[in-house]
Amino acid sequence: MAERPEDLNLPNAVITRIIKEALPDGVNISKEARSAISRAASVFVLYATSCANNFAMKGKRKTLNASDVLSAMEEMEFQRFIAPLKEALEAYRREQKGKKEASEQKKKDKDKKTDSEEQDKSRDEDNDEDEERLEEEEQNEEEEVDN
């Protein structure tokens, strides 16, 4: 995929949804406003990354981690984000743990069930999606190691 300037922007559909959910019902958002918010979000990512990277370097690490991001929020005076971010982090860690256990469980179930093939088929599809995602995550981790 060629790197175009648009790729540094976030998808309009998702940005629009986030804005709509944040504002009261029935509020209109002009195209320019949405576009401005989208650009602002990209700038925010860059600013946060740069800040977080400073903390990583202070810690003599090359890899940005969760605590670097949290420290960056504090530095940028977005302390209000820290609590929800910590919750999100906990939820994410639980989810990762759960995913691993779930896919192990599914494999066990598959072995047990020989009847109801239809159910197994749909579970296979789910499994494939999960496996794809896991593979992606593994690939991502590999990328980081190479870097």
Binding site: E3, D7, L8, L10, P11, V14, R17, I18, I19, E21, A22, L23, V27, N28, I29, S30, E32, A33, A36, I37, A40, A41, S42, V43, F44, V45, L46, Y47, A48, T49, S50, A52, N53, K62, T63, L64, N65, D68, V69, L70, E77, F78, R80, F81, L85, A88, L89, A91, Y92, D126, E129, E132, R133, E136, E137, N140, E141, E144, V145, N147
Partner: protein
Amino acid sequence: MADGVVGRDKCGEQRLVSLPLSRIRVIMKSSPEVSSINQEALVLTAKATELFVQYLATYSYRHGNGKEKKALTYNDLSNTAEESETFQFLAGT
């Protein structure tokens, strides 16, 4: 290549982040001094960006003039960038 951690979950659980992690990663990596990014840091940055979008939208709306017309306009946002200290890093973008 899947471009997002969007709700494919069939259990009906709400996904943690709506923004595509791959895109967030591209933006983060465009910073030359960044070597690598741990997956958790990526998720948190994506989540923080969502929070930021919400905050910017609601702040601009509350403080802006569009409120009477029940609309959020570009002016509301540029005013916020110029007047609010928190959002000052946006001024000029």
